[in-house]
């Protein structure tokens, strides 16, 4: 976390340095005298090439479907997946299933976040307790939480609660471990600084430890945002009354390749939206991260 920028130590020259650094960027269109691209051009070129790769890929995919190199059952052409996506979105069941999966994910995730952060703070505050409990936390983290799905279904039934439970279990330990890790890594000298100011434990926690740990906590929260969705979906795969995961299994059993792929794309989009929201909050809360 060494974020000390190598700015010139003198006050004035650092300002000059910034002005000078900006100068080369203001001379565009001089690409014939230098073999490499200047940074301004590179910023435009890379996304364009990136987009080109995607288009090429989709074209090759379409072409190989047209030439019957790939069976549409194995991999339907992009165009039919696209039309199927529109159909799925318009289908009467879609909104209900989307809401079910999203609810399971978000409720499980938020519960996990609250409980894990709270427990992380408690365990970090009481060192002895942490030393007693932490080995089990690590062991639990190593066990694939997905394997708990059948147990949770026995405990919580085939409805929404068992999926919330699974989304919870799968995202819980990541946040817990990251919270403890973040609170452990508060710089020792910063803690000594607070001690030298005769700060209370509460002050040290609020003014130093909590903000210092936040980047780690949010790293955990971002990872577990995608994990929570996996938990909800896996729960739905096994037994459920509603949800995109259940629908996906149904389509798969019915050999509806178009619909399976359309749902996959939509689930992917849902995952990206959920992750995006957390990433956005992260950037707002932990804005000082390098």
């Amino acid at each position: 976390m060494a974020g000390v920028s190598a700015v010139d130590p003198t006050v004035e020259s650092s300002i000059e340095g910034q002005a000078n650094a900006r100068a080369p960027g203001t001379v565009p269109g001089s690409n014939d005298d230098k073999p490499g691209l200047d940074p301004l051009q590179r910023r435009w070129v890379e996304p364009i090439v990136s987009l080109g790769v995607l288009i090429t890929f989709l074209l090759a995919w379409t072409l190989s479907s047209q030439l019957r190199l790939i069976s549409p059952l194995v991999l339907p052409p992009p165009a039919s997946i696209a039309t199927e996506i529109m159909d799925v979105v318009r289908a009467p069941w879609f909104l209900g299933d989307l809401v079910a999966t999203t609810t399971e994910t978000i409720v499980g995730y938020l519960l996990a976040a609250v409980v894990a952060i709270f427990l992380g703070v408690v365990l970090s505050t009481f060192r002895r307790l942490r030393r007693i409990v932490y080995p089990y936390v690590v062991v639990f983290q190593v066990i694939p939480s997905v394997a708990l799905a059948p147990v949770l279904i026995i405990w919580l039934g085939p409805g929404i609660s068992s999926k919330i439970g699974l989304a919870f279990t799968i995202s819980f330990f990541v946040v817990l471990v990251n919270t403890i890790e973040g609170l452990e890594r508060v710089p020792a000298n910063s803690l000594r600084l607070m001690t030298s100011l005769a700060a209370s434990r509460r002050q040290t926690f609020l003014m130093l430890s909590l903000p210092a740990a936040l980047p780690y906590v949010f790293a955990g929260l971002r990872t577990s945002a995608t994990l929570a969705l996996i938990g909800a979906l896996v729960g739905e795969f096994i037994t459920s009354t509603a949800g995109l995961g259940r629908r996906l299994v149904e389509f798969s059993f019915a050999m509806k390749a178009d619909s399976v792929w359309a749902l996959l794309v939509l689930i992917g989009a849902l995952g990206m939206v959920l992750y995006g929201i957390v990433a956005l909050i992260d950037r707002r809360v932990v804005w000082w991260r390098a």
């Binding site: 130590p9 650092s14 000298n189 001690t195």
Partner: protein, 278 residues
């Protein structure tokens, strides 16, 4: 660069800062302090410091100099109340030190600025911890920043500062709540030689304006001689005081002081004490 407007600021600061400080306070007595670190698994326990005694008068600038392992940092932490001596005691203004106190500020080798606080907010950290009114200390914080040449950077964040600017911010932070004693643990040790020298000059200027008791730990003999009224030279195995050396350099000191004869004589005397050949 800061010198021209800096000296003006110094004059205006002189009464503003001095008026608020109680100049009689800040006397330190170190009485036979020893520190033993208990043995780990059969190894002999380590005597870090043995029977160290010295005193620092209020408003005096004293350096502790010695090779690593001489216990100079341990001594500083004992004065700060951050470590308890195994024997002897430290007395500040007649009271034995048992815990950190507000009247004693500590500056570490690393600036330890908080990345989520801007320069001004970092300087105000002690004010927040002490539960004092921020508004009442705002002007003082700004004056200190001006004095340290950081007037234009109060809204900058630590990640935008150079190492030297970070330590200047830390210096303002340690001074903001007006402690009577400032303890500095190799504060410029991680900086390059040029920055270190400039910060030494600025430190003296700020010290002139505020007249705190300063105990300054360093392994740089030249720095210690240039800054201090007295240099306490320490040796190792066990950590102990070799000699309490007076620095006969007049104040105020400038870069030119380092060309003067007493500077070099003191410097070489300390080198001899520490067994360094020249």
């Amino acid at each position: 660069m800061v010198a021209s407007n800096g000296s003006m600021a110094t004059q205006s600061m002189a009464h503003a800062v001095k008026a608020s400080s109680s100049s009689a306070l800040g006397a330190i007595q170190v009485e036979g302090v020893g520190k033993v670190y208990p043995s780990r698994r059969g190894a002999a326990s380590i005597v870090a410091v043995k029977d160290v005694s010295f005193s620092v008068a209020a408003g005096e600038f004293v350096s502790l100099v010695g090779p690593s392992g001489c216990g100079k940092s341990t001594m500083l932490m004992a004065i700060a109340g951050l470590t308890q001596p195994s024997g002897g005691r430290v007395v500040i203004d007649g009271q034995p030190v048992t815990a950190p106190r507000r009247s004693v500020g500590v500056m570490f080798q690393t600036p330890e600025l908080f990345r989520w606080r801007n320069v001004l907010e970092n300087v105000l950290l002690p004010v927040d911890v002490f539960g004092l009114n921020r508004a009442a200390y705002l002007e003082r914080a700004r004056e200190l920043l001006r004095l340290a040449g950081l007037g234009a950077f109060e809204h900058a964040y630590p990640q935008e500062l150079s190492g030297g600017m970070e330590q200047r911010t830390a210096l303002c932070r340690v001074l903001v709540a007006d402690p009577s004693i400032v303890l500095m643990d190799e504060p410029f040790g991680a900086l390059d030689e040029f920055t270190r020298e400039r910060l030494n000059i600025e430190l003296l200027r700020i010290w002139d304006a505020t007249r705190k008791t300063v105990v300054f730990v360093t392994h740089n003999i030249g720095e210690a001689v240039f800054l201090s009224d007295r240099v306490i030279v320490m040796g190792t195995q066990p950590g102990r005081v070799l000699e309490d050396v007076q620095v006969p350099l007049p104040r105020p000191r400038t870069v030119e002081s380092m060309r003067e004869r007493p500077y070099h004589e003191t410097l070489y005397h300390i080198r001899d004490l520490l067994g360094l050949s020249h």
